[in-house]
Symmetry: C2
Subunit: 489 residues, 2 copies
């Protein structure tokens, strides 16, 4: 062994160094080869003096570096840089960029930002709940009570199927307000409808299985099926909802259909009873499944909410999916799935492999909110609020009807699709506008001449709604004249 | 059209029927064919009398059934069961069972219950945090403050990368306590390490790519990689941790290695510095990746926590994964991932497709808990608590050393693996015991003569620990004599 040489200690950047600073400087000096194999360190007394730190701290740092294998300490001889450390070369940023790529799959999935909500709600990207109307004082009070009732259970592991109080409250709600007969055992709690969709896709589908999705479709569902490696097959939506016969001719052997029957996303159409039965008949004959996503079935401003497919199904082949993000508030992170009892344990196992379980506190708070009748009052209130907003919007847009624009007459939901037969004109409107406008074609797979503006208004106040509608009307008028002019010339 | 006949109304079960009861009875009568195509309903006045409900309610119900297509109403003629309803036959339970199967993939994934935690912590299944020691009054106080500071943002959409306050607090914590240099921009918040693992697998791996996992291994990681359709390749763990050379000979072209270097799960071994460099060298040469899961790196009862692989890496190819479930409490549902900046947006997009975003309130509360120094005090306190528990357990088990049992000397973590060279004996102990004992072989892929008992003690109080250890010692003694006797005979 060559004669060990004494070394200078690496400089510290901090004026009053802490343990981490000293440790980091010494370790990095070894990693970068500034201190190398066999170098002898000064004594901890000397090093402590040099660095202006306590001897105890210096002892700790040398001890840790020895524990980790950077240093070797030998009684009587001193502390040395250990033999086995070979300094690594830092890669340049360019080298890293060249090699540091996500997988092909990762790149494809990562390119899809469709599930990210806009960070600042404004006209017309605001499809989330209007939280200004939420009774948040009541909610905090109930949350404190939930915390007391849960006690230590608020901090511990919770049933991955969901808290029984909430499952029972949801089963009662579904029976009372949606005409669905089920037991609490069939209700599974998820963080979001998106998470439930992924778990269902894993449960029901093999890789490469076909799934009917509506065209146009909720992009989150398409993403979840793709993530689970299934093949979404777009089935056209007309005035009666999903065109079952078209689905049969495109993919009769699909294993699953994903539908939004109360208020189709994004067109707003309600699926007719005839189509509902066609769908159930197909499901029965082909032993396939239906996911009924009733994402805003609570909000219907004329008549009562429509009867869910689930309630019409006699074969136990419909999975009913509901969310509390729309009816309560989006950061609640609670959704529920109604599932035949034989699938409860299987899907719970799948869910735990994706993301453990849902925390108990929001579940308990929500259960209290429902049990005490606040949920039904809140739904009534919000139905009135959103119904009025929808009316304000539709009234504001009225002049556009004369320019050939149309919209769904299904009086429901927190978004409105405004259609025009000339797609170029619609796209010109969007391009010229400073509003945040989404095009129907974004949600559509099949090409079509027509296009539409997808107006999400749930979280907007009346003033922004009116101003947004007025702006849109003005712009459409201007562009319409311009377009007509061009056509004439 | 045949002459419509008047019908009797279906009976109601409820003594004081509500809207839902009346609606449900009528709808079901149509669905079951009790009322059939062309049947004429009585007037709403008559029906209201028969059912003892208000006329307004009856109007609503008839209106809804007409809206939904069950009834047709014609002014002057009355209300009829609509033409298009063909009653569905109910399937029998047996028929359903025959056809209602999950997919092959679904069955395989659903059969894995390894990610479900035991519902009642007892000796020795209790690897979660000891929530009795958690300062929950302080936590509620901070949560109320977090709610005030967030205001309406507590209810709205939150950044899917995580709340910036928490990301900053975690970056500071990692710098100060784990010697990791990073910016808050590199920190991404997930609900759980499991969720982060799945997102990483999707980002980094193509279907069928190989991943090194430790053998024995944390089962949740294996499940996440399988769920993402990658192929886990078990690499043996010895006294220095993962055997990198064995990994090279088994799957040199693996894209990723998943390791738990501070305190291997479940063996408790710490990866030696030499092996750490071997691993980084392989990663550099093969352009592969490492996930460093530092799941309980905070709890080390002698010396300081070991320097993470992340801090040794010069190639930006190590992803550092930490969780707050172990150090805080399991229902907090917060974990964090440290990732090169170029991957922040891609993995965030992937995460939103799996499950939207993490709610803001627990994030803000956690950020306050960290910023005010409570986190470091809590870690210090819990290190003392768990260290004492570990000592109690090891002391209690001491007599087993004479029977040939051994355990890791790495003084860390909230579980202890107790090994014996005779696997049959270990399994006999487990079988005979009323304690909740997990076998090492459950976590192991390769066969081995030896086996071990995996004792998870974090959430146990001292009395249960002592009682459990005493019971185990007694049982091992009894069975050892019996086994020796059998061997002699």
């Amino acid at each position: 062994m060559r004669k060990p040489k004494g070394v200078f200690l690496p400089p510290l950047r901090a004026a009053r160094p802490k343990r981490g600073d000293v440790y980091g400087a010494l370790r990095d000096a070894v990693l970068q080869g500034v201190l190398s194999h066999g170098d002898r360190l000064p004594s901890t007394r000397k090093a402590a003096e040099d660095y202006g730190v306590s001897r105890g701290l210096m002892e700790e740092v040398f001890g840790q570096l020895a524990d980790e294998g950077f240093f070797e300490r030998s009684v009587g001889r001193g502390t040395f840089v250990a033999a086995r450390v070979a300094p690594l070369e830092h890669s340049s940023r360019r080298e890293r960029r060249r090699s540091a790529n996500a997988s092909r799959r990762g790149q494809v999935v990562a390119a899809n930002a469709a599930c990210r909500e806009p960070e600042n709600p404004r006209a017309f990207n605001a499809g989330t709940a209007d939280i200004r109307e939420f009774p948040w004082r009541l909610w905090w009070r109930l949350q404190n009570r939930a915390a007391r009732e849960l006690g230590h259970a608020a901090f511990g592991f919770a049933d991955p199927r969901g808290l029984s109080n909430l499952r029972e409250a949801i089963a009662r709600y579904l029976a009372q307000f949606r005409g669905i007969r089920c037991t609490a055992k069939q209700v599974i709690i998820f963080n979001s409808a998106q998470q439930a969709l992924m778990a269902l896709a894993v449960l029901l589908l093999n890789r490469g299985d076909e799934v009917w999705i509506e065209d146009p479709c909720y992009l989150g569902a398409r993403a979840a099926f793709r993530l689970a490696d299934a093949i979404p097959v777009p089935v056209p939506v007309d005035k009666e909802g999903i065109h079952v016969m078209a689905g049969l001719s495109r993919a009769a052997r699909a294993r699953l259909a994903y539908v939004t029957p109360s208020h189709q996303y994004p067109t707003g159409v309600a699926v007719s009873l005839e189509r509902r039965f066609e769908l159930l008949e197909w499901v029965k004959r082909s032993n396939s499944w239906v996911i009924e996503d009733d994402y805003d079935g609570e909000f219907r401003y004329a008549g009562q909410p429509l009867s869910p497919l689930y309630a019409l199904d006699t074969q136990a082949r419909v999975f009913y999916l509901g969310t509390l993000s729309k009816s309560m508030f989006i950061s609640l992170r609670l959704a529920y799935l109604l599932i035949p009892e034989e699938f409860v344990e299987p899907i719970t196992n799948i869910r735990t492999q994706m993301d453990g379980f849902t925390p108990p506190l929001p579940q308990m708070t929500m259960a209290l909110f429902m049990d005490e009748g606040h949920f039904s009052s809140h739904l009534r209130k919000m139905s009135a609020v959103y119904g009025a907003k929808r009316k304000t919007l539709v009234d504001g847009l009225a002049p556009m009807a004369e320019l050939g624009w149309t919209w769904s007459s299904n009086p429901a939901g927190v978004h409105l699709l405004v259609m025009h037969s000339k797609g170029d004109y619609v796209r010109a409107v969007r391009k010229a506008s400073k509003l945040d406008l989404a095009l129907l074609s974004r949600y559509r797979v099949a090409r079509a001449r027509s296009d539409g503006l997808f107006l999400r208004f749930g979280a907007l106040d009346v003033e922004s709604l009116q101003a947004g509608a007025a702006e849109l009307v003005k712009l459409c008028g201007n562009l319409d004249r311009k377009c007509s002019g061009e056509v004439v010339r």
